[in-house]
Amino acid sequence: MWILRCGRYLRGAPSGGASYWGGLSPGSRFTQAASGGSDGRQEAAGDPRRRGPKKVTVEVLDHLERLALVDFRNWEGVQRLEKAIQFADQLHAVNTEGVEPMDSVLEDRCLYLREDNITEGNCTEELLQNARETVEEYFVAPPGNIPLPKLEERDTFLQVSE
């Protein structure tokens, strides 16, 4: 689902794609998406593909790989991403002025409220069976997050300049 929002960001960029990600605070995500989308709608009201297939920059791809731990593997993977963004951009053909955005197809259902009773738990052994390594009923993890090395230090297809 976040590919749709990703597409809106990339479409509206005046400069490069990277500047979007760097300067954003978490809260602005939806408001920016809304304004970016409306700009797109105004321009592309009669022509959904006016902007044409926009290239995704290397900075954005590196950021995505680092953030979502996704491995594009090769340029084919990137092309698939661009095609997906194009496909989602067709939504801009619809005029959604004054319509509340939908969160999910279940959003009109009633949220079930559970009573505050203890009904689960006490399955330590079962849960620990899923872990490769355990120590005295604890799960074992590396000492901290191991971030992806910087782009320059990685052996990745993204390093080849376009």
């Binding site: 976040w2 954003l24 620990l128 604890y138 074992v140 997050n145």
Partner: protein
């Protein structure tokens, strides 16, 4: 306290353990007497540079407080909420984020959030939404936390708190801090770092427990104000019962956002201070960070927007590792949870199952007296000073003790309060006891004060009884002893 932190920062601009150790010896402290006071609790924080004609600094402090909801089961699953249980024994399949599990919202947590919102004068959003906040860490098995970022359950409230001001710290000033929002969110598990084996042990008992995040606007300007606001919030939460708010057990966690700037100029870069484990350290951590930033800027450096941890042993903040660049949490709506709809008496639909409905008006009617109301009632009912009412409510159980004594004795409440606050509380503090652990019961003290009132014993004798621990052995023996004294009216105990 602020003055001593300044001295420390003068001697050790980069907080190194060796320097701090040197600070603790007597002579070096005397040598480094700071010229000029630090005005705390006021808008302007003067640094010694202020004496030399540099513009004064103003600190801006905003707090994000996470309060663990007092409930039997977790926010989205039916596993138990309990402190200190065998590792991973209170974990359901949903908490462990096994595929195929779905969240089911706990009604009690919603009520707790609404209660807290009403107590903090917030507007309750009748429709609130849940979102996912994504980040990777071993104690967050799903890779995301379910929170309420777009539309939280309560917004735009205020919290009034009081602190001692004036030269002698005997006047009470009331301040207000605005509450931006209150939201429901999940807690993460606990990680125990094992540095010797270079691994982290994960316990998911705490994963999924309901939290109320109270976000305050940056209306405060010192560690003292922040500590007073947090203390008041703690009392409110404990009175409501929505959270037990015991900082030592991690039920109340405070993160402070601190920045400094010159009045009239734009706000400075802020840093976030985490890992503050008690109310005592909160004021110290914030004051240290304010002084650190002032020193950094006056030395021509810049303040980096980073997260710092407070080391209570060294008394300073140190940068936390990781955090390369700004975190992008990629918020998205939680697709497994429809919006949370709250009702009031007007909007309540007919023929609904009352178990599935949370009625804001019903909760509002049942709110207990908040601490501020109880203080006013104490002052009105017993004629004590407002400062006394603060101390009575601050100490767990002291108000009930005072009321019990006042009810059972002929001595006037204004005199009783002196005995309670000076002698009783002094004794308890000296011996590190809580009111519940007091060897003197309210009945005994009431009788003692009665004897004092009737002139049977002198106040020095009564004070003596309060300070000699050996006499606490048997209350009835003591009572008989005093009754024996009554026969010999002129005898006083030495």
């Amino acid at each position: 306290m602020a003055a001593s932190i300044l001295r420390r920062s003068l001697l050790a601009p980069r907080c190194r353990a060796g320097d701090v150790a040197a600070l603790h010896s007597g002579p070096s402290r005397r040598r480094a007497q700071a010229p000029g006071p630090i005005a705390s609790g006021r808008k302007t924080v003067k640094s010694p540079a202020g004496e030399r004609g540099v513009a004064p600094w103003v600190a801006v402090v905003g707090l994000e407080i996470h309060a663990q909801i007092s409930s039997n089961s977790k926010l989205f699953s039916g596993s138990q909420v309990q402190f200190a249980a065998p590792p991973n024994s209170l974990v359901s399949f949903f908490d462990a984020s096994l595929p195929g599990t779905l969240p089911a919202l706990n009604r009690r947590c919603v009520e707790a959030a609404v209660m807290t919102g009403l107590a903090l004068n917030c507007s309750i959003n009748k429709k609130s939404l849940f979102d996912r906040k994504h980040y990777f860490y071993a104690d967050l098995p799903a890779g995301y936390q379910i929170t309420q970022q777009r539309l939280p359950v309560a917004v735009n409230g205020s919290l009034s708190y009081s602190l001692c001001v004036g030269g002698k710290k005997n006047q009470m000033a009331t301040r207000t801090v605005r509450i931006k929002q209150i939201q429901l969110e999940q807690d993460s598990g606990k990680s125990l770092h094992d540095d010797t084996r270079s691994q982290t042990l994960i316990d998911l008992n705490r994963a999924g427990v309901g939290l109320m995040e109270v976000v305050m606007e940056p209306d405060m300007s010192s560690g003292e104000e922040a500590a007073a606001a947090v203390r008041e919030l703690q009392l409110i939460l404990q009175t409501l019962g929505s959270s037990q708010a015991i900082m030592a057990e991690g039920q109340l966690r405070v993160d402070a956002n601190v920045s400094v700037h010159h009045p009239g100029e734009p706000l400075g870069v802020r840093t976030e201070v985490k890992n503050i484990n008690s109310a005592r350290f909160l004021a110290r951590a914030i004051d240290y960070e304010i002084q650190r930033q002032i020193k950094e800027l006056e030395n021509g450096g810049t303040v980096i927007n980073e997260t710092r941890a407070f080391d209570y042993k060294l008394g300073c903040t140190i940068p936390m590792r990781d955090k390369e660049g700004k975190q992008d949490y990629r918020f998205m709506p939680e697709p497994n949870l429809p919006p949370l709809i709250l009702y009031d008496t007007k909007s309540l639909p007919a023929n609904t199952n009352h178990q599935q409905v949370v009625n804001i008006d019903w909760i509002r009617e049942r709110l207990p007296d908040l601490p501020s109301v109880r203080r006013v009632k104490l002052v009105e009912q017993y004629g004590i000073l407002p400062e006394h009412s603060f101390t009575l409510l601050n100490e767990d159980g002291l108000m009930e003790f005072f009321e019990n004594v006042a009810r059972q004795t002929q001595m006037s409440a204004k005199k009783v309060i002196g005995w309670i606050l000076n002698d009783m509380l002094g004794y308890l503090k000296q011996h590190n006891l809580t009111v519940q652990e007091s060897p003197v019961s309210s009945l005994f003290l009431a009788d003692l004060l009665n004897l004092l009132e009737r002139g049977t014993i002198s106040s020095s004798a009564a004070k003596q009884e309060n300070t000699r621990p050996a006499m606490w052995l048997h209350e009835t023996t003591l009572l008989l002893f005093f009754q024996g004294l009554w026969q010999n009216k002129n005898t006083t105990l030495i």
